[in-house]
Symmetry: C2
Subunit: 321 residues, 2 copies
Amino acid sequence: MTIFSPRRAGAFACATFALLTVPAAHAAETGPATPDAIVAASPAGDWQAIPADELLVMTLAPAKDGSSRQIVIQLVPSPYSQGWVDNIRKLAKAHWWDGTSVYRVVDNWVTQWGDAEETKPLPDSLRDIPESEYITPLGKAISLSCDKAETPQALCDSYAPVAQIIDGWPLASDGTSRWPVHCYGSVGVARNLSPDTGSGAELYTVIGHAPRQLDRNVAVVGRVIEGMTYLSTLPRGKGPAGTYADPAMRVPIRSVRLASQLPEADRPAFEFMTDDSDSFAHYFALRAARHDDFYHVPAHGVDVCNVPVPIRARKTGASAE
Amino acid sequence: MTIFSPRRAGAFACATFALLTVPAAHAAETGPATPDAIVAASPAGDWQAIPADELLVMTLAPAKDGSSRQIVIQLVPSPYSQGWVDNIRKLAKAHWWDGTSVYRVVDNWVTQWGDAEETKPLPDSLRDIPESEYITPLGKAISLSCDKAETPQALCDSYAPVAQIIDGWPLASDGTSRWPVHCYGSVGVARNLSPDTGSGAELYTVIGHAPRQLDRNVAVVGRVIEGMTYLSTLPRGKGPAGTYADPAMRVPIRSVRLASQLPEADRPAFEFMTDDSDSFAHYFALRAARHDDFYHVPAHGVDVCNVPVPIRARKTGASAE
């Protein structure tokens, strides 16, 4: 997407081009490659389906105009944050979130949901997760080099020795362990003071600049991949810590289910661009060095949160109906 | 601000503490230092008033509930981006924005305003600014070291050799020049394709993760310091490039004035924490290494957009009335 001033038709055409998915041939005719054009031109083999038990479907009460509000969250895959992810699956299967609400919204920080009154009993089956599980030990030490020539997709990072897109997720590493990082749209587990780590019942998503200082201090368990604007445009709270002072402002949550709990015909289906594909390598390179009709000074650098893994709805018998 | 799960009263107390400005004595009693506590405890001498001709006051049409919506933008001081800032002062003095609108909102990107139809003539006095003015040459070369021990407030950056908070602003440098960078709330000049640089009539503010790839490609001319939520919570646009497809969704701009154009009694007054003060050094250090009742793993690193320069309303005869 480009920032533009629509004074001239050309600008509209360019900005629109950046928004649309166009075939490779068209992209080639239209000008220098852009990340969006690479995504549009990528072969089917460069995409991988997201398992139905890694998709959480949250349905809010309809908006004032009656329109429905469905949010889809992709859960972090094994081995990252799995203690909390397991709890979240148990909560979804118990229909625990049904009747709870979105009760806290802080500008440039987070939108948070769960049981605002914190009186609803939690399933006994939930596990208490130790802080040690914020990170995942690596089998063997990895290189910490963020020299572009040596490891083109390893990023020098402000918060960790190195950050990379691996297994479809932005991860940071200290060489002996890895952890999922906070970016815009990341979903994390709200908690009390350390050493509490949260159960997974109270969740938040990031609605501003990535609060990377939370990495390794709070569990990142997923990311919003559909319906983000239903959470990012809510009125900011004026109560303690940005909660809604007036309970009437809370947004009711009708239901939260794993896609795998839904009838096949009702399951949302998504796929992500695999990070070991040629398409992703090209996409990543362009994200780190934009040079096209709009960008004249490539940064030759990028932070891990500005390389969002391409994710799109998947055409299936069900979703195509 | 802390993310918290209000299951226990203690968490509320902690989160509230992080939101309130508390006297130093109280902060000391309450526990480990936090950035907010440092700001609250800083002496008056560590703050500097923002000149009235560096404040832009934008008044939107009242909200549906009748409440007023005033936004205050701090303009980047000399010598950065001054060609565009000069144009913006001329546009404000000509009342050019009165009757224009906020017409484009893209999630995790920008909210943009000006003349949606692009038919309103611009003042003849505006200057065409060359791309060379996106950066400001330095009198003499500066160190590019981001070694914490050597230059504690110089940050290793993903988009430039070094980034720092200087003159009250987040700036990046290549050693021979500096430029203001894009962060959440930054205000920039929308433009057409390169080499167009925009006049300053069409402006945007960042409502998501810092799009640092725009640095040196678009002019950063200021930052929103009051009323940001009036721009960040607007419905996202569904038209081309995120413009509002339905003109009725545009938010009317009643007026835009420099504070210096307003009667003294009506002028908003703000001050910022000077970056050469002891308070700022302490604030910066804590931002880069949170270690308190909530944070148990300090990052020992921070990106320049996560060290927002403390800014607050200034008690004056006028504003205290």
